[in-house]
Amino acid sequence: MAGRRSVWNDPRVIEKARAFVPATDEVWRLQRHQDRECRFFRQKVRGNPAPIGGSWQGLYIFAPDGTLLARRNTLNPDAAMKLMDAGLEKWSALGKEERKAADPAEYLPEHRWENSLPSDGLVLRSTFRDLPEDGIGPEGRGRWNRDHAWFNRDEARSWMPEEISIRQKHTLPEPLALRLARFHVVDNVSGQEGPYARDDIEHAEIEIEVTAVDGNDATIQISGLFRCESDGVYKLGETDWRHFPSRTRGIDATLRGEATWNIEQGRFSAFRAAAHGKAWGGSGLNGRRGVTQEQPAAIGWYFELVNDDPRDRLAPAFIDVYNADWVIQPDA
């Protein structure tokens, strides 16, 4: 995640990237899963579609048919510039036939979690950041990271009381409050942490009140409390997360938000919420170090409705263990 700033914020790298089609993806799946897109990747980078262990993070330059032109894992912008120059040099040496596109039948995915995007439901972009110990202020901005939270159409409706009228109060159904607690109000600021198990959640509650109804627009206020504590014992069964170190950790956070529900369309036209709390412990596998119950990290989470940016179609980090039966599984 340091590469976001060290490499990709360098103006020379941004300018040089114009000579390419820039793309990003998640490498764990590409290395290990049996999907056609993953097998294509492995065939092209290693000459063999079998799964690859270790970590193949880094920068790759491919011709449109998938021929690997250059590859390197670096956090150094100078090294990234050299890699791009080397890739462009190889590209310029290719003949017309060698520049042809790959047949999509070779690489189009059979399954991606993004296929389950609930575009008629509620899709939130969540951003989370380390904050100064005493709250937000002008003291500077810490590390940050990003994820998405998904609710399908029925789940989006269940954020609202059955009868939508002013001063109606409502409690978000427990499974949805648990979804936020287990998968979203999590300390992923310094890199991915594991999801929480149901048994790790001591408290997850969201209260909602309709504060205004104006024609088709119903405004709600949202209040939430989350308390999670893991004893460090992995409890999620056979998932990719079992390979993640499980250690003691916890979260204590408060959430406040507001949203506008369009009654006629049956969907949110606006939604934003912030959470603030403390996190301690962690897997040790990401960049988080030295946060204890005595000296926790202060974190702010901000949830907002996505727009049409294709990058907001990305699936939640913990989608493979989401408590949602409408998510299409790889072997479905």
């Binding site: 089609v21 793309a23 790959a102 959470a275 901000y302």
Partner: protein, 78 residues
């Protein structure tokens, strides 16, 4: 006197229905504190969010594909 002042202050303050507050800050302040700003220039790069979308665009545009891979998606939770 104290009670009167407190009452006047309470009546003149915005109600919860007017402005959501979390730890003494409204949601605009939280957005400003948490969301990335202009310092994150890498977000201005027109990234395709998957290998297959990038590969298809590379074929269409006849450009090489520059692919950035990480554990966890670089544009999501990495």
């Amino acid at each position: 006197m104290f009670l009167t002042t407190t009452l006047i202050l309470a009546l003149s303050l915005p109600t919860a229905a007017d402005r959501i507050q979390l730890d003494g800050h409204d949601l605009d302040a939280w957005a400003q504190a948490v969301l990335p700003g202009g310092e994150e220039a890498w977000l201005t790069i027109p990234w395709h969010a998957t290998l297959h979308e990038g590969l298809r665009a590379a074929g269409q545009q006849q450009k090489p594909l520059l692919l950035w891979l990480m554990n966890g998606h670089p544009l999501g939770c990495t």
